[in-house]
Each structure stands twice: as structure tokens, then as C-alpha cells.
Subunit: 355 residues, 2 copies
Amino acid sequence: MTTLLTTRDIGAIVAAKGLAACLGRLVAYLEHDFARWGDFDKSARVASHSKDGVIELMPIADARHYSFKYVNGHPKNTRAGLPTVMAFGLLADVDTGRPELLSELTLTTAMRTAATSVMVARRLARADSRVMAVIGNGAQSEFQCLAFHLLMGIAEVRLFDVDPGATARLVANLRAAAPALRTTVCAGTADAVRGADIVTTITADKTNATILTPAMLAPGMHVNGVGGDCPGKTELHADVLRAGPVFVEYEPQSRIEGDLQQMPADFPVTEFWRVLTGAAPGRTAADQVTVFDSVGFALEDFSALRLLRDLAAELGLGRRIALVPDLADPKDLFGALAVPGAATSVAADRLAVAA
Amino acid sequence: MTTLLTTRDIGAIVAAKGLAACLGRLVAYLEHDFARWGDFDKSARVASHSKDGVIELMPIADARHYSFKYVNGHPKNTRAGLPTVMAFGLLADVDTGRPELLSELTLTTAMRTAATSVMVARRLARADSRVMAVIGNGAQSEFQCLAFHLLMGIAEVRLFDVDPGATARLVANLRAAAPALRTTVCAGTADAVRGADIVTTITADKTNATILTPAMLAPGMHVNGVGGDCPGKTELHADVLRAGPVFVEYEPQSRIEGDLQQMPADFPVTEFWRVLTGAAPGRTAADQVTVFDSVGFALEDFSALRLLRDLAAELGLGRRIALVPDLADPKDLFGALAVPGAATSVAADRLAVAA
């Protein structure tokens, strides 16, 4: 039997453990897995592009576990009342291929993306960072704001979105969830970025946009570029990438999907796991601009699925479903059809076809 | 909400409709989709190989639907009481990325593989075929025997497996399900193949085996080669492929995975859809040997998922699960966490972390 976790189960996990604890453990699981980068069989995700969106599969495996995520990106969905991004995923046993855990990953993707941003910012942003600009106030913005507030000590978020309603919703949710976090609604990107220590861009449009320009940068800033994550979908001006060392998750995928897609193939980047393990430097000076060109990598979902499996076991959550057959004789697959009347039906059909 | 079909639901569908009707409709859905080959965004499957097996993702899409299958192949699994092959898959809406149907596909893979074999054999085997040899009597063998019996008029199956217990199980299942089908247990492959009009090879070992040799062939035979479907896993001697025209599902994948993997890159093959649509000839003489080098293509699962969706709707089967969130405001993903106590937990955690 396979354990199924629905969106309701994820809500129950967060309610039981608290968002800070969930995000904190997620960062720990991410760090554990990024630190053993060489253990993983990695590949760029497999994308199926259509007129209004993309559907992707993101597989990864180590010697013990295999995971994949199904995820879409359809910016127009919100007009039809559907989320832009929806996701679910699987954790399976490499030795047998048996599916262990099937889970919703829409809420989880928002949490793992924010946790990844924090994991990286802890090594790249200035330790005294207190103010974060958040450009793009859509579905993932609460998670980014709360993760940086709860885990990084961000005390003020400066918010801008082309849709004022989105910003209003974000402010209301943040006030309810974290009253100590100061929220400042800004008139534009330049206004929001002014005075920020960290700039998070997380917009949804699938266009080659220039949300953040070099004129907006200030010495010592850390840019957490999250929304440029698909061919034809960028947020950062090329000179923002040229302004500081650029860090990525998995270089082959980031070259295709990240803001990096607009740069020459030999533009230098550093894979973050090298900073985490001490193989490469992160920030080297307080006045340096650092850029994390995040696209979302399969390893992050692998870590999240491992955590969900452990949390569900701790809390006794999830439902067991017969996603694959449980056979008394493993070669007798046909026996799994032996519901009452099946054999009779076959024989009756044979007569019907022969007649 | 997404509809979930478990192995039990597939059993209920077959019990309600009968195996012959299910397989017959599956062939019709397959023919419908193979006939519009150009409509599909196709790619070879994405494989993750490990010491004892492989886990694969098989995506495909047309302008309306996207599907993928998760499937493993672990020949040693049966020793641990698990099936060699386990699978599940998804049907999603291309316009929005919304997951419509999540279904078990282990039983369904066995049915769709047999239905594909029949669809192809109807164009390539001699119309007067009555005897089929089945080499490899594992989990899929009942489905092959019954599909050819129920839909192609095969009256006798000649059976061989290195495991006599597997053959005994197959015989017992066939006697119960289709008493009119004659079963002959054979002492070896050559014995089983002698006098057969169609030869189905469907063995499990992940080795470069030579199950079928040219000396065993007779004029007019159709070879339904199903088990050579993975790099390093073949069943047919190279001269069997040279003996007759070779037909495949999707050439780029078959060159990597099929028995074809042992042939030069310019060895000629015909994609089956061309025969189906009349663009290429199938069998051209009664004494010709024809070879279907089947590996299993994502389009077959796409067709099967379409059929399951329709049958589940007809029969009122399946359970609705919250695999992705249903949001009042599609940008308010955070609101989906708003189970009682969640906000309080966040605030409490903040204090705990700050303390």
C-alpha cells in the first residue's frame, strides 16, 4: 500500500507542528541532501510546453530513494479561479520501485521554495539583513515572507505587485499570521527595493521581463530571484547578473530555465552545494551584491517528500491506497482481477465475441 | 478534485464490463490515437537505472490532454513477493495543468500491452492465425493469451517458461477464465514455437538474451516481441530481426530500448501508425515473417487513461481526492493552510524561535 497525503493533510501537519518548525526542519533536510550532492542521479526536468503554460516532470534518485514531482505553470489560470502552479509527487524505493508516498506538492512547493531561498540566503545575504523587498505578491509570497521572518530575522517586508489586490491579500495574511512582521506597501519595484537588504523577485508572467534593473541595486544586497524559472520567463536585467557572483542550484537546468538563459554559455556561476560544503566561497565582502538565480530543482522536492513521509509517520496522518497491486503470488497479476464474477464475465464475453 | 482509481476499481471495471469488452474498447481507443500520430508531442521515456532495476516516467500530450506513467522494472522483485512491474499514471488538462485522473496502471499496463499486441497483429499476422506460442509465462502472459483468444481467434497457446510453476499458474488461470482456449505446456522454446502462427516473447530477465533464434522461425510467422524493452534487455537473435520487416511503436525510443538496440542505426524499421493509416504496407505475403519489436510507448498509456476515465464515469467508480488545492482565491494559496489553529501556531512558533 502507498501512503496518500492530500492538501488537507499538509494543512494538518502545519497546524500540528507550526509553520516555523516545518520550515526549519525543511531547511535541515535540504541542507542534508545538498551536502551529499554527488550521491544523486540528476537531470534537468522534462517539460511539455503548450500555448498558455507548461507541465513538467522532475525526477531524481539516490541509491535508496527515487522521487519525482509533477508540476504545471499556467499564469492565466488565476483568471479561471485555478492556481498558477499545481503539483504532486512521489517517493519510491529504488531497490524495488515500490511507491511509498504519494503527496500533494502545491503547498509543499511553496514551502520548499521558501526554505531553499532561506538556506541559500543564510550563506549569501548579509547576516544583519532585516529588510526584504518582495516583488510579485502571488501565491508563494506569504511563504517567502514568513520563512525569512521566522528563520532569518527579517523584520520588514516591502511589497509590490502590479495587482494591488494581491498585495492587499498578502498584507492581511501576514498581519494575521505574524503580527511582528512590518509590512510596507510600495508604489513600484524601485520604491520597494529602496533600502532592502534582500530582494526577492517572484512574479508569474511567462515573459522576458526586466523586473529588477541595475540602477535599483545597492551595495551589499542579496538578490533572491525566484520567478525566472522557465525558457522565455525571466525577471532580472542581464546587468543584475553581471553585478555580483551568481549562484544556482543545478547548472545544466539553470542555463536553460533561469535568468541565466539570457547570458552567454560561459557566463560564470557557482552551484550552491559547493558553498554549503565549503568547496567554493559564498559572500566575500559586506558591500558585494550576491545573486541566487533560483529555478527549483528536483532535489528540493526529494528533501520535502522525505520530510513529509517522516512527519506523516510522526503524526499518524495519511491514507493507505492500493496504487499498485498487493499480490499473494507476485507473478499472478491476473489474480488481482479475480473480483467476484470476473471469470464468468470473461467466459461470457468470449461467447458474445464468438457469436 | 482529482479522481483516483485503485487496483480494486480496475477489478470492478473488468468485472462489470467483462475482459473482452474492456480489451476491445482499449484496442479501439488505441487505434483512434495511433491514427492521429501527428497530434502528439512525443519523447522517449526518462529512465533512472539502478543495480537491480529501472524506474521510468513516460509523458505524452496532445493539444487537450497530457498524460504520464510511472513504471518500474525489477526482475528480482518476485523473489521478495513483489511484482516485477508496477505502475500508475495521470491524465491532466493541457489548458490548465489540472490533474483529472490518477490511476493504478499495473493491471492496466498488462491490458494495454496485450491490446497493443492485438492491434498490431491484426495488421501483421496472417488472418488465419490460430496457434500462438508464449515464451515467458509471467504476470502479463494471461493478458496476452486472453487478448489474442478473445479478439483474434487464437484457439491454442503453446507455453514455455524456465519456471514451471509460472506456466502451471498460467494454465490454471486460463482454464478458469477461458475454457475454450487450448493450452499446451511445452518443454522448451523451440518446442513451443513449432507450429505456431504467432510467437509472443515476454520474458523478464534484464539480459541480452537470445530467446528466439532464426532456426525456430517458419514462413508466415508473426513475432510479437514484447519483453525486449530496456537497454541491455533483448530477446530476439539479430537474424530474427533480419528475417522480416520490423515494425515498432516510436522509432527513437525503440532504437534505444527494443531488440533493435543490437542493430546498426540504419537498420530499416516501420513505425506502426504508418501501417494503420495506410501510409506503409504491413504484411505483403502469406509466407513472410513479420516482427513487432514492442517496447511500450507513452501513447498506449494515454489511450488507456482516456478509456479508464470514460469507464469510471459510466460506472460511477473512483474516489475524489484533494491532490491539488481548491482555492476560493487562486492567489491565496496560504489560505489553504488555514486549518483551525494554524495562524496561532505560526505566531507561537515565532515567539519560540525568537526566544
